[in-house]
């Protein structure tokens, strides 16, 4: 639901998309961010689909708008939904209802029955308006799983990440950028029944967000955008990574993991008056002070170490011609880690600090699927169980992230899975496999919201 755009291949300018973005360029971008942990056949299907899916999206009520201010670098590659992901979900649900599809809100699927790779039924608990819950098992001829990863399940994240060298449970300090409903229940139930699982449980799209964000659903507005304009220190007041390595839109997706690996899973982005007005406005006010000493005290860092870090940094800055729109020549010399670009001494009051925590957008561990979106059991595709979205995105996106690619995978494989599920219901082979007289196809999606993919 917090998504805002879709990465689209296009050979020429198309309404909100400028210039062109070829299949090959898209594929190379994907190859680069995943470091090869992808499936070329499945990836290229998603990429090609992204060039033709927008008329279909429009038909179902989704409207597009030009690239947002502050995100103009994506005007060539990404098509933004007007109003964002919730407007998109509203349009899809409205369109589905108009097609006569019955939607059960407030229904949580907690079990699924599969026999020899054939889907039989799913069991739900319904939260009724009077607060009571009822259970129901629905049998259907085919099923699409579109119910997300396990990023909202702190217990599972805790198990995956374990304890760090300071004895901390790393995942305890994660914030979840999307809904609380992505619990990974279906992945667990299917794993128990022999489904093939792909991906590393610690791999996730994780960005640096404001530590004061709510535990769930902080969405896009909690991101911290001033990292490359200053320095970032950990709770021991030490720098730990090159803040100016590359443009922020190319780096924000690694900073969540960088902060996750720091003690206490917290860091502080420090800037001065020169940065004001040069980055996307933050949702929470920064801590403001007239001296660096005062700032250290306000955010509770060791003043001596902090001042030493700042002095070392300030003296290491080789001031050239500051230009935030290019990889400029302002860099540091003689300190580790270096700051490669935009290194300006932090000397002009007032000074600001923004606390940063890892914000998890989605996890990559999921069900193994193929180009037909069929779920695999012991290396064999299920005839009637399909998966779309985060629950299978790991097949294409083994690690890394590039803006809007989750939504590309979700839209492409959502359409494929839906088509396959419907075709199975209509196909002559299905009576041999399942009981007659069942409902048609069904789809499981997050009960209220969907976090797949997100911003750039």
């Amino acid at each position: 639901m917090h998504t805002r755009n879709l990465r689209c291949m296009h050979d020429e300018p198309q309404d909100v998309l400028v210039e062109s973005y070829s299949e090959e360029e898209f594929w190379q971008d994907l190859l680069k961010v995943t470091g090869g942990q992808t499936n070329e056949e499945m990836a290229r299907i998603a990429i090609r689909d992204s060039s033709s899916c927008r008329p279909w999206m429009k038909k179902h009520g989704v409207r597009f708008q030009p690239s947002l201010s502050g995100a103009l670098h994506t005007a060539r590659t990404n098509a933004f939904f007007m109003g964002g992901g919730k407007a998109l979900i509203n349009a899809y649900f409205r369109s589905a209802e108009n097609l006569g599809i019955q939607i059960d809100y407030n229904a949580t699927a907690f079990d699924i029955e599969v026999k020899d790779g054939v889907f039989k039924s799913a069991t739900f608990s319904h939260l009724r308006l009077d607060g009571s819950t009822t259970q129901e098992t629905i049998y259907a001829k085919s099923c699409v799983l579109a119910c997300g990863g396990f990023e909202s399940n702190i217990g599972k994240l805790r198990d995956a990440w374990g304890q760090n060298e300071w004895g901390e449970w790393t995942a305890d300090n994660f914030l979840i950028r999307g809904t609380r409903f992505n619990q990974g229940t279906m992945i667990d139930r299917l794993k128990e029944q022999g489904a093939d699982i792909i991906g590393d449980p610690t791999q996730a799209h994780m960005v640096a967000i404001d530590a004061r964000a709510p535990l769930y659903d902080g969405g896009i507005c909690t991101r911290i955008d001033c990292v490359s304009l200053g320095v970032v220190v950990n709770k021991f007041a030490k720098r730990f990574y090159d803040e100016g390595e590359d443009f922020w839109p190319k780096r924000y997706a690694i900073w969540g993991r960088l902060v996750a690996l720091q003690p206490g899973q917290i860091a502080y982005s420090i800037t001065d008056a020169k940065a004001v007005g040069r980055f996307m406005p933050p949702v929470f006010e920064g801590t403001k002070a007239n001296t660096l000493e005062e700032l250290a005290e306000l955010i509770g860092l060791d003043q001596n170490v902090f001042m030493q870090t700042m002095h070392e940094y300030n003296h290491a800055c080789q001031i050239g011609t500051f230009n935030h729109t290019v990889l400029d020549d302002c860099h540091t010399e003689g300190i580790a880690p270096v700051k490669s670009h935009w290194a300006m001494p932090i000397t002009q009051a007032p000074f600001y600090a923004y606390p940063v925590k890892p914000g998890i957008t989605f996890t990559y561990l999921g069900l193994k699927t193929d180009k037909t979106a069929a779920v695999y059991f012991s290396d064999r595709p299920s005839p009637n169980l399909f998966a779309a979205g985060e629950i299978m995105a790991g097949n294409v996106l083994g690690k890394g992230y590039t803006a809007g690619v989750g939504m590309t995978i979700g839209t492409a494989y959502g359409r494929i899975a839906g088509k396959q599920a419907a075709q199975f219901v209509l196909s002559p082979m299905q009576p041999h496999l399942i009981d007659s007289g069942l409902a048609g196809a069904m789809a499981l999606s997050p009960s209220l919201e969907n976090t797949l993919s997100e911003e750039s």
Partner: protein, 391 residues
């Protein structure tokens, strides 16, 4: 300590020439800070592009943006931070609350602004007084024989044209002055924060177009705004068009009739084929249909849209428009019957109530929104003061 900090901040703000915000204004500032970090709604209307030019929101910015908001509801239904989210974002509602405060703050004379808080009562008083006045006048004229039906009367047998003019002209002139002063005060507040300079011909043209077409009720994609739910509808835009253009046609009818009366020496009543009558009938039907439509939409609107406290003001104004147009049409249809004198009293009474409440009621929204649209057209042509790195 909290209270002390607030006081210190207030003192600082005052010292720096920034007015302390009212609770409703502070709520808008809080919400806009979240919106400004999100920006998903940029394509819907003018409010969000105006927001992205700012990093903080002072009183004048908030007054400007509150009046720029058309309360279309698109951003509420699209909002990932709306209820039940902790952030509790509801831009149409928080803007509506501030809008009412601005009408009050810019009303002239200032003491009359308080009627915005009791607008239903204010409309009821004006209508009662006006109706009583005209019924009494007619009864006196006819020696209390309005209802005897002994002979058919013409309009001017009851009230002479000069008497009508001397009654309505002062009210109309007062309306123009009161709303004019309000407009001037508002502009002098918001111009400095919207580029200072006056509107170019291009900006004026664009703003006029946006007003006359109700551009910002089109949802940004042309399919309209929201009313009951997340479905888009053009019904509000259409009903408002019928109302506004109907009102203008009625106004044109009266102006032409005045010209006929004085310049051409052609006094009323006019035939249906004449210009004043044609304008009046078409305008009256349009106004009636439009205002009934607006009333229906107002009553069926999603509960979270706008400020429900303002429904008496909205519906009171709409009721006066319905009463005015309906009584005008009935008067035309029943001109030759015994009901005429009473319908004339009803029509003149509702028109008088409408004009008495004009500077202290819902009508003011058109004036302030128009001004905000002009300033938006000016501001968007100015270079941004921000250098957000990604741009």
């Amino acid at each position: 300590m909290q209270a002390l900090n607030e006081l210190v901040q207030q003192a600082k703000d005052t010292a720096m020439g920034q007015a302390a915000l009212s609770p409703n204004e502070a709520e808008v500032a809080r919400q806009l800070q979240i919106c400004n970090a999100c920006r998903y709604c940029e394509g819907f209307c003018a409010v969000f592009p105006a927001m992205t030019r700012r990093l903080s929101f002072e009183q004048n910015d908030i007054h400007y943006m509150a009046n720029l908001c058309h309360s279309c509801g698109a951003c509420l239904h699209a909002c990932q931070y709306a209820d039940p989210h902790d952030f509790q974002i509801n831009i149409p509602q928080s803007m509506a609350k501030v809008r009412l405060e601005t009408y009050q703050a810019y009303a002239w004379p200032k003491s009359m602004g308080k009627w915005y808080q009791h607008n239903g009562l204010w409309i009821a008083i004006c209508l009662t007084v006006s109706l009583t006045f005209f019924i009494a006048l007619i009864m006196m004229k006819q020696n209390a024989s309005v209802f005897d039906g002994s002979k058919a009367l013409g309009f001017y047998d009851i009230l002479s044209h000069n008497a009508l003019i001397s009654l309505f002209a002062p009210i109309f002139i007062f309306d123009v002055i009161a709303l004019g002063i309000g407009l001037f005060t508002f502009l002098s507040k918001i111009s400095p924060v919207t580029g200072e300079v006056g509107p170019s011909a291009q900006a004026s043209l664009e703003a006029t177009q946006n007003m006359l077409t109700l551009k910002y009720l089109d949802g940004g994609h042309g399919e309209g705004c929201n009313n009951e739910d997340d479905a888009f509808t053009l019904s509000k835009r259409r009903a408002h068009h019928l109302t506004f253009y109907g009102f203008m046609l009625c106004f044109a009818s009266t102006s032409v009739a005045t010209f006929y009366h004085y310049a051409l020496d052609l006094p009323a009543p006019y035939d249906l084929s004449t210009l004043p009558k044609l304008l009046g009938v078409v305008g009256g039907v349009s106004l009636l249909l439009g205002s009934i439509g607006l009333a229906k939409l107002n009553l069926s609107r999603h509960k979270d849209h706008g400020d429900s406290q303002q429904k008496p003001m909205d519906l009171g104004f709409i009721a006066l428009l319905i009463l005015t147009s309906l009584s005008g049409l009935l008067l035309w249809l029943a001109a030759k019957t015994v009901a005429m004198p009473l319908l004339l009293a009803l029509h003149l009474g509702s028109i008088m109530a409408l004009f008495l409440t004009l500077p202290y009621g819902k009508f003011a929204h058109g004036i302030y929104r128009g001004a905000a649209l002009v300033r938006f057209a000016v501001e968007k042509r100015q270079p941004s003061r921000l250098i957000l790195k990604e741009d």
